[in-house]
Amino acid sequence: MKSEKKQSILSIRKLNAWYGDRQILINLSFEVQRRQVTALIGPSNSGKSTLVRCLNRLNDFTLNFRFTGEILFKGRDLYASMVDATEVRMQIGMVFRKPIPFRCSIYENVAYGPRISGVNTSVRLDAIVEKSLRRVGLWDEVEPILDGTPDELSIGQQQRLCIARALAVEPDILIFDEPCGELDPMETPKVEALVRNLKADYTLIFVTNKRRQAARVSDFAGFLYCGELIEFGATEKLFTNPQDIRTEQYVTGKLG
């Protein structure tokens, strides 16, 4: 299937990763398509988080971490010596499982990213903050309390605030590492809807251990099992016609 519209933005080639002696990722290769949602599914401790943390170089700070293989972002090696890691993380943002707003006002939370990248006129910051908060559907809820602390928000609102914070730096790719893991069932659909909506402007990578969630939000899906990428392909195909027996067991809920 070669369509003109499809375009790879990130390619992972023969990625192996270790923490100390323990191998976490075994020979992974796949492509992430521009402006699509790519889901990574699998039982817990399969290496999903390790994998996505390689993609924005967050593992740089992890002790005893080492890897082999290549990760190409727009054709450039992410780990090449002249590549600035902070630049990478600005272009490949991340939203974590647990929403962790900074200890400052809601406004400053969203403005943090633009501020550190050099935006300092209040007119522009105001515009960015409003745009980002509108994008995640939080503007109307928080407009009167922009100077208040994020502690007053519900967990779901905090998570959307964290998404807005990540959007404020205008990344190309946004990684979601189990963004609904801490949310209650009422908040989850909002975040899922947001993910589908963001697809128009961003490339999204979505880690989850809930298969139905992956089926709902993603266009492509990869199934990780004990550090190996067992199967990767269009979500629909992976869920309805899996090629590997383990994938089938997983999507039907027998495994993991």
Binding site: R22, P43, G47, P185, K210, C226, G253, L255, G256
Partner: protein, 257 residues
């Protein structure tokens, strides 16, 4: 079977952490020799209930318990109950494998040594005990040449199996497990589940898990808890396929379809 044999019975068990009531009127009977799983959303009190049965809850200050808990027919809140004896009979395995930072061999004998007089074990006896314990958790072949190795340097899966093995020399009747597989990958999880099925019958297992596929695979009885209350306790298959309570149905459906 006419008369079922129960290992644990509770009557109107209530438990508070300070002002917060974590368990509300829990009445439960745990079948001897079976694997019973405890499921429910996080914060529903399943771990708290588990921790009542060997009284480790008391280690956190501010805990008030009311009601009756009978383990093997004996009320564990009676004044003459010895905590070390209780915890010898009711073993526990934790979320993260926590072997002691000593050799594999000493890990297995550790429990026995603290419960028996000094130097009462001969070398041959201890060797036999270690071999038996490791054999019953399928580790003997892998570890028989590594008995002097520090237990914390083993693979996580082996460490968790070792944590089960070290309970066995004390001849416990009941083994409590608090999400024993959450630190393991899928292969390790399957291996530990296989081990539990093998040991069931000899021991009564009570396992807390957030993984419903696991509850379904491994347990014969299943308890669903919600906000501190015991909602449903039935045969696992029945609970998953034809839940009586609508809350159980919601919870089971939420991740299954």
């Amino acid at each position: 079977m006419a008369a079922k044999n129960y290992n644990i019975e509770t009557e109107n068990l209530n438990l508070w952490y300070g002002d917060f009531q974590a368990l509300i009127d829990v009445n439960v009977k745990i079948l001897a020799g079976e694997i019973t799983s405890l499921i429910g959303p996080s914060g529903c009190g399943k771990s708290t209930l588990l921790r009542c049965f060997n009284r480790v809850n008391e280690r956190y200050g501010n805990v008030t318990t009311k009601g009756k808990i009978q383990v093997l027919g004996k009320n564990i809140y009676d004044a003459d109950v010895s905590l070390p004896e209780l915890r010898k009979t009711v073993g526990m395995v934790f979320q993260r494998p926590n072997p002691l930072p000593i050799s594999v061999y000493e890990n297995i004998l550790f429990g026995l040594r603290i419960h028996s007089p000094l130097r009462s074990l001969t070398r041959a006896e201890s060797d036999a005990i270690v071999e038996e314990a490791l054999t019953s958790v399928f580790l003997w072949d892998a570890l028989k040449d590594k008995l002097k190795v520090r237990a914390t340097s083993l693979q996580l899966e082996q460490q968790q199996k070792l944590c089960i093995a070290r309970l066995l020399p004390l001849k416990p009747q009941i083994i409590l497990m608090d999400e024993p597989c959450s630190a393991l990958d899928a292969k390790g999880t399957l291996a530990v589940e296989e081990l539990m099925s093998y040991l069931a019958g000899t021991y009564t297992f009570l396992i807390v898990t957030h993984n419903m596929a696991q509850a379904r695979r491994v347990s014969s009885e299943c308890i669903f808890m919600f906000l501190g209350e015991l909602i449903e306790h039935r045969n696992t298959q029945a609970l998953f396929e034809t839940p009586h309570n609508s809350k159980t149905a919601d919870y089971v459906q939420m991740r299954y379809a």
